[in-house]
């Protein structure tokens, strides 16, 4: 199948999935007790049944479920996710304000986990009984079984309080002045601990898989052929073997993307990272339905885009999937 057609089909499925997510989210929120009227009345310091009723009519909450759903989807198509009465701000602008922080955290953690995971996997696969190989096994077990918030708090105690290398919380230090680079450096310093915390789980997964596939690939017939050609160690490992070992790791990374996003909620909360995760946490407590729906929608969007990218990346490393020519 030509690559362009495959791409179109993928995008079509992605859109259909997004629509399904919208319907599901809205239905779930509809079923949950409490609605916007409650939020508004709370922010007014309480209201009687009559006022509540008027608010419901004003906001169309008295309409049948399907009408409300249709109106919601129509609005979303116009990038209107509603208004948060808790934050007194439109949900779209609220989310767009927080999205970059989350994207930065999620993408950098995912990249860190992938790069370090693959490197550890490759190096340890070359010496399956070496020290490093045992270290990877240990790391995998540890990273996978330790809860994120625990790892996070541990890192906080170690590297912010005992050895104050990194800031404790937030994303930026308002006292920092200077140009772009000063700010970038400041954000980077804040990013290190949350990024490592979030990456740790996935690093464990990826390094173990990379080690296993790499060991399998290094024993394959075509790697033997590469050696029989008299190629250098470097060409054998990084050109012939690694290229084949990457596909499973990329596939796993794609599947884990949603887990990384949900992991980000916890990590953001631990490190007060001003992203969608902390926003989600606060708005759930405040029962801010429009914001929750908006965040759910955006998380789904991030995951779907992540999966699309994974698909393209896979096509790049494996010609059998038909990405080229």
């Amino acid at each position: 199948m030509p690559a362009a057609r495959v791409t179109l089909i993928r995008i079509f499925y992605a859109l259909a999935l997004l629509l399904a997510v919208l319907v599901l989210n809205f239905s779930l929120m509809h079923l949950a007790p409490g609605d916007v009227a409650d939020t508004i009345s709370q922010s007014m310091g309480g209201a009687d049944a009559e006022v509540l009723e008027r608010i419901r009519i004003d906001y169309g909450l008295d309409q049948p479920f399907l009408v409300q759903l249709g109106r919601y989807i129509g609005n979303v198509l116009h990038f209107d996710l509603g208004y948060s009465f808790f934050y007194n701000q439109s949900v779209t602008s609220l989310i767009l304000e927080r999205l970059p922080a989350t994207l930065l955290l999620v993408v950098s953690a995912q990249v860190l986990a992938l790069v370090v995971g693959v490197v550890l996997g490759v190096v340890s696969a070359r010496r399956p009984n070496g020290m490093l190989s045992h270290f990877v096994t240990f790391l995998a077990l540890f990273g996978y079984s330790a809860p994120v918030f625990w790892t996070g708090i541990l890192l906080l105690i170690a590297f912010s309080l005992k050895i104050p290398l990194f800031p404790v919380a937030g994303m930026q230090d308002i006292t920092v002045t200077g140009g772009f680079f000063a700010h970038a450096w400041d954000i980077l310093r804040h990013l290190v601990l949350p990024m490592i915390t979030l990456a740790s789980i996935f690093l464990a997964l990826y390094s173990r898989l990379a080690r296993a596939t790499m060991m399998e690939v290094l024993g394959s017939d075509y790697v033997r052929t590469a050696k029989a050609k008299g190629l250098s160690q470097r060409d054998v490992v990084y050109k012939h073997a690694l290229k084949n070992a990457l596909s499973p790791v990329i596939t796993l990374a794609g599947l884990q993307f949603s887990a990384v996003v949900s992991g980000a909620v916890l990590v953001e909360t631990v490190f007060s990272w001003p992203g969608l995760g902390t926003l989600a946490f606060q708005s759930i407590i405040a029962r801010d339905t429009p914001t929750i729906l908006g965040i759910l929608f955006f998380s789904a969007l991030v995951v779907i885009v992540g999966n699309l990218l994974t698909d393209f990346a896979l096509r790049l490393v494996d010609p059998r999937l038909g990405g080229r020519r």
């Binding site: 394959s220 017939d221 075509y222 033997r224 052929t225 590469a226 050696k227 029989a228 050609k229 008299g230 190629l231 250098s232 060409d235 050109k239 012939h240 290229k243 084949n244 490393v317 494996d318 010609p319 059998r320 020519r325």
Partner: protein
């Protein structure tokens, strides 16, 4: 007399098994002359591939090793050569084609690049020159439209075409020795014949010596001047192919030959019923014993066969047989 190109002297290859060490190749000696074609035959598991891998210096790491003996190539002992020196030789002076064309090529690299990289590595060719020559090599192994097929991936080719690509890779640097390990076992019969034709023609053009490993006595008769019959890690018989087919001096060789209907019919004009060698090959663990390992399956078995490993007995025509009863056969 010319010097042999490759001299294998008392080669012993040991494999590490779960419960000890077993000699997969035990005291193997033979010589390969420049331009000569030598065949290895023997049942599955008798150590043919291990011999080939040992010559390439590619025994499975941590499992197989050369325990003793010498591999003298062009006056240089490969068993003591450095890894860097072996890399210079591999794919350049000694090449190998493997048993499995479907899995021996890298699935995610174009066939052109898989050929070109050998040329760049050993002959220092530029990218462009190596790529052009890759197309020429595809043409030489008779793949149609070589100019467009260089950028194909292996999955876009049939098994026969992939084996042709392997041959192109192996012959790219005009090696002195080509080791072909059952190059046609995985292919269907018509393709087998084409591959043998190709190898024969290329050999006539280049003068490369060939070590051909096969199960196929018919292929041996067509391709090789001399043959070595292996049994359970040991040499059973060696000699000129026509002499051995005419008068095998080892009961195992006789059994092998009688398994092949068309050779027999050529020789005797009668189509005897297909026989097979009865019994099974001893397991790796029994390989080191001081006795004739074929004895349990042999109808000529006598007392000494079970007590001592048979010595090599030479005959005037160049045949050598490791059998206590060689003269009587």
């Amino acid at each position: 007399m010319t010097e042999p190109l490759l001299k294998v002297e008392n080669l012993r290859i040991e494999l590490k098994l779960r419960d000890g060490v077993a000699p997969v190749i035990d005291d193997l000696s033979f010589e390969l002359m420049p331009g000569e074609s030598l065949s290895f035959v023997g049942e599955s598991g008798c150590g043919k591939s291990m011999t080939a891998l040992a010559i390439m210096g590619l025994l499975p790491e941590g499992i197989g090793r050369i325990a003793s003996g010498k591999l003298i190539f062009d006056g240089e002992d490969l068993t003591t050569a450095s890894e860097a020196r072996l890399r210079q030789i591999r794919g350049n002076e000694i090449s190998m084609i493997f048993q499995e064309p479907m899995t021996s090529l890298n699935p995610v690299i174009t066939v052109g690049e898989q050929i070109a990289e050998v040329l760049r590595t050993h002959q220092g060719l530029s990218r462009k020159a190596a790529w052009d020559q890759a197309a020429e090599l595809l043409d030489a192994v008779r793949i149609p439209n070589p100019r467009s097929r260089v950028s194909d991936y292996p999955f876009q080719m049939s098994g026969g075409q992939r084996q042709r690509v392997m041959i192109a890779i192996a012959l790219a640097c005009k090696p002195k020795i080509l080791i072909a390990d059952e190059p046609t076992t995985a292919l269907d019969v018509t393709v087998q014949a084409q591959i043998f034709d190709l190898l024969r023609d290329l050999r006539a053009q280049t003068g490369t010596s060939i070590i051909m490993i096969t199960h196929d006595m018919g292929a041996v008769a067509e391709m090789a001047e001399r043959m070595i019959v292996m049994y359970a890690g040991r040499k059973a018989e060696i000699g000129p192919v026509d002499q051995i087919i005419d008068h095998a001096r080892h009961p195992y060789t006789q059994g092998l030959i009688s398994c092949v209907p068309h050779i027999m019919s050529d020789l005797t004009e009668t189509r005897e019923e297909l026989t097979e060698v009865p019994g099974i090959v001893p397991s790796l663990r029994e390989f080191g014993r001081d006795q004739c390992l074929f004895a349990s399956r042999c109808k000529y078995r006598s007392g000494e066969c079970l007590q001592h490993r048979p010595p090599a007995k030479g005959f005037g025509n160049g045949q050598i047989s490791d059998c206590w009863h060689a003269e009587a056969l």
